[in-house]
């Protein structure tokens, strides 16, 4: 469970996030979308504890990221858009190191299973600089998943991956959600978000513009009459495309509990 309550982050004169409140229950995949500068990265960084919020609270599985950072992060995995790998550790050493940080008991079988799931077998003793961009991304994902986190944050998880790897990662994300993990995916690839996410959170200028299932947010944009895809909704809601019948004002969809996705 990830809970964000009245989150605010201010940089000097710029308010990057303005009173954001939402929650991601176990089993839900939340797609975090918005134009550049909408506050997605700042929100993600506040949730992962990389930066302290100016106001508000972030709870991971009931633990406050500010008051109990180690406890909260113990339940969390953050997979950044650019793989942040240690250039001097091999693939196997990465997994051993991260497992140790999270106190994983008997990590070797888990590491082996992840290597197989993400098709990294045969690369165990390779250094990151010898891996392709996609391989690095898969290793970063394996490091994030080795402690079986209950809350997972993906920032552009499919960048640089080939179609086979994309399908693998999608399956992997769905599998974790089905197992009860609360997942947030931040991405500009709206078709990916639409395919995986059970709910969408659309941010603009640090504020919640739309929040709900695809059907709910379709309904929130009156002139689309419930037919549009996420890209269309995004364009209309953010004002990049308007129609004669659009009201010009978007109302956030009601907060309704999400149903767990089917595996």
């Amino acid at each position: 469970m990830i809970e964000v309550v009245d989150l605010r982050k201010t940089y000097e004169n710029h308010e990057a996030v303005r009173g954001l409140t939402f929650s991601v229950p176990p089993g839900e995949v939340l797609g975090l979308v918005g134009p550049n500068g909408a506050g997605k990265t700042t929100t993600m960084r506040c949730i992962t504890g990389a930066i302290p919020p100016t106001a508000g609270r972030v709870l991971i599985c009931g633990r406050d990221v500010q008051l109990d950072p180690v406890g909260a992060k113990q339940e969390l995995a953050f997979i950044p858009d650019e793989p942040r790998l240690f250039e001097y550790l091999t693939v196997r050493e990465h997994l051993a190191f991260v497992a140790r940080l999270y106190g994983v008991k008997d990590p070797k079988p888990r590491a082996q299973a992840l290597l197989e799931e993400l098709e990294l077998t045969g690369k165990e003793d390779a250094l990151p600089n010898t891996l392709s961009r996609g391989m690095k991304q898969k290793l970063a994902i394996a490091c994030g998943l080795i402690h079986e986190p209950r809350a997972i944050m993906f920032d552009e998880p499919l960048t640089g991956l080939d179609p086979v790897a994309i399908r693998r990662i999608k399956e992997s994300i769905r599998k974790r959600a089905a197992a009860g993990a609360a997942i947030i995916i931040s991405s500009h690839l709206l078709n990916l978000v639409e395919a995986i996410a059970t709910r969408i959170l659309l941010l603009q200028q640090g504020q919640k513009l739309l929040h709900g299932t695809i059907a709910e947010i379709q309904a929130a944009v009156p002139d689309l009459q419930g037919r549009a895809d996420l890209e269309e909704i995004f364009m209309r809601a953010t004002g990049y495309e308007t129609s004669a019948t659009a009201s010009g004002r978007i109302v956030a969809a009601p907060e309704t509990p999400a149903s767990p996705p089917t595996p």
Binding site: R45, I51, V70, K73, Y88
Partner: protein, 575 residues
């Protein structure tokens, strides 16, 4: 039309770079180092009255010899460029330049000339520096010095490009291995053949006054003199005293530049693939260097690696996992070849020590040399081993998402590096104790005591040195991580300021445990029974006390820096 577009690219790049550097001087973190660097530059090169003067008559006597030597030096660089050309990629450009220019409707000749054009801001800056330096010497003309330097650098630059493209052309024709070096070797042999008739046994150092004549005969007579003539004209341009003298050199330089340009452009060497490989390789290494210095750059080149012999237990304190990570990084980032100079030094000292009949003099030499080495390693160690938090700043958001307290991250990073440098320091002391020969003054038991004392005190001192460095990474991340595009005066000034701050802090922080240890020993001397054993025990106790106090200070610092780390904002570090 196309050339004007390329000229526009070079001009805008230079203009924007200068503009960006000037604009950021509004921020103190850029202004202060720039001012410090300029102050240093002014003090060393520009201060009126400092170093200004004419050459001493003795030096003036050697002027023709110096010019001949300079000409020979230029000949050496020219020939070496052709011998080493097969090792080099054909044309060095950035990845963006290769991708943009090689896919644009440009001829290879145009791209080669663009590459020359792109080097001009740097060569002009070098010329400017030469001109400024010449202002300090009455017999030099600043304009000739600047223009001469500019022409010489350009001749050498175009020589390098022509040689690399020639080797590239041979490769494209299927020539491989030693055959690629035949042109360079032939050139070297031709030069050697020209010099051979002039060669006579050199005068001994006692016949110092005869050396100019010997060199003059070697360089100026016969075929060698004719061969060296154009390069001598080049070499004398910066020191020319009038326009006719300068014009001869300039004419030679322009002719050589034109010749190399024609050779480089008419070869039509397919350089694109090689240039892209080089651009990517250099880009990766530079990025690694920017993040973590030489050791990271070395890591960027490693293709295969054996699993580390350092074992990581599956359970235990988190900081030990960080320590393990740091140790693996440091050991993989440091080449064993670095040990060769130390080994060479030890062998050299061994030979001196055991062949000398004046042990007391040798002992003084050993003690002073090894003391300097110890101090240098404490100060320079953190600059040599940078695989710690300083090289991790670019992944700060990831590090902060891990369930690890800031102090534990810092502990691992600091102690990992300190263990290695501490071991090296103890090794130096041990080597010194083994090499000292005056046994009367230094009983074997004393040597062991000194080694044991250093083992208890020096590793904590190394830890303090690394704690300060990593603390700087937390408190001033933008100063520690090298910003893209930073360099020159600003970088020099920043390094100077950082080194100054480091030394002050290290001295202040070590003063407390050092004083406490000294007081302990002094009190011990007053109250303890006399005798060798008691004295040795006191020294050892002083070392242990000093080491423990230093460690205590390090722990306090790590807690402070750890708390600061937890509030560090990755979005503001602006690396």
């Amino acid at each position: 039309m196309t050339q004007s577009a390329l000229l526009y690219l070079v001009a805008r790049t230079t203009f924007n770079s200068v503009k960006h550097r000037l604009a950021r001087l509004k921020q103190p973190r850029y202004l202060l180092p720039t001012l410090a660097g300029l102050a240093y530059f002014w003090f060393v090169f520009g201060m009126p009255g400092l170093g200004r003067g004419t050459r001493a008559p003795e030096v003036a006597d050697f002027a023709p010899t110096i010019r001949a030597l300079a000409g020979a030096g230029l000949l050496f660089f020219t020939v070496t460029g052709w011998i080493l050309a097969p090792n080099h990629a054909t044309l060095m450009m950035s990845e963006a330049e290769v991708m943009q220019l090689c896919t644009s409707p440009l001829t290879r000749a145009q791209i080669i000339r663009y590459r020359w054009l792109r080097a001009q801001p740097a060569t002009l800056f070098m010329a400017l520096v030469a001109g400024v330096l010449a202002l300090k010497r009455e017999e030099l003309n600043a304009i000739f010095a600047a223009l001469g330097t500019w022409l010489i650098v350009n001749v050498m630059f175009l020589n390098g490009i022509a040689a690399a493209l020639f080797a590239g052309k041979l490769k494209s024709l299927g020539v491989r291995g030693l055959s690629l070096r035949i042109p360079g070797i032939m050139l070297a042999l031709a030069v050697a053949a020209a010099f051979a008739p002039n060669f006579t046994p050199p005068p001994s150092l006692r016949q110092f006054r005869e050396i100019p004549d010997w060199l003059s005969h070697l360089f100026n007579d016969g075929l060698a003199g004719a061969l060296l003539w154009p390069l001598r004209q080049l070499a004398q341009m910066p020191a020319a005293t009038d326009w006719p003298e300068f014009a001869v050199g300039a004419g030679v330089a322009l002719a050589m530049m034109l010749g190399f340009d024609q050779l480089a452009t008419r070869l039509n060497t397919p350089f694109e693939e090689s240039a892209l490989d080089l651009a990517q390789n250099v880009g990766r290494r530079l990025e690694a260097f920017r993040r973590g210095g030489m050791s990271s750059m070395k890591l960027a080149q490693i293709q295969t690696v054996k699993p580390s012999r350092l074992r990581l237990a599956e359970q235990g304190p988190v900081w030990r996992a960080m320590l393990w990570k740091a140790l693996v990084g440091q050991t993989r980032g440091v080449s064993a070849r670095l040990l060769f100079p130390l080994l060479g030094l030890a062998i050299l000292f061994g030979v001196i020590v055991f062949s000398s009949d004046r042990p007391e003099v040798v002992d003084v030499m050993v003690i002073s040399t090894f003391s300097v080495l110890t101090i240098m390693l404490v100060i320079a160690g953190p600059q040599m081993l940078r695989n710690d938090l300083r090289s991790e700043l670019h992944r700060l958001d990831y590090l902060k998402s891990l369930p690890v307290r800031g102090r534990d991250i810092l502990r691992g990073e600091v102690y990992g590096s300190a263990l290695l440098v501490g071991a090296a320091l103890v090794g130096i002391v041990t080597a010194a104790m083994l090499l000292i020969r005056t046994t009367e003054g230094l009983h074997a038991a004393w040597r062991i005591t000194i080694i044991a004392t250093s083992a208890s005190f020096l590793p904590p001192v190394a830890a303090m040195s690394f704690a300060i460095e990593n603390g700087a990474a937390v408190l001033m991340p933008s100063w520690v991580a090298q910003a893209p595009g930073s360099g020159g005066v600003e970088l020099m000034g920043r390094n100077m300021l950082m080194a100054f701050l480091r030394l002050i802090l290290l001295s202040l922080l070590l003063a407390i445990p050092g004083s406490a240890a000294a007081v302990l020993v002094a009190v011990g001397v007053l109250v303890a029974p006399s005798g060798l054993a008691a004295a040795m025990a006191l020294v050892f106790a002083g070392g242990v006390a000093g080491g423990l106090l230093t460690l205590l200070e390090v722990e306090v610092l790590l807690r402070f820096f750890g708390r600061r780390f937890e509030t560090l904002d990755p979005s503001l570090e602006n690396m």
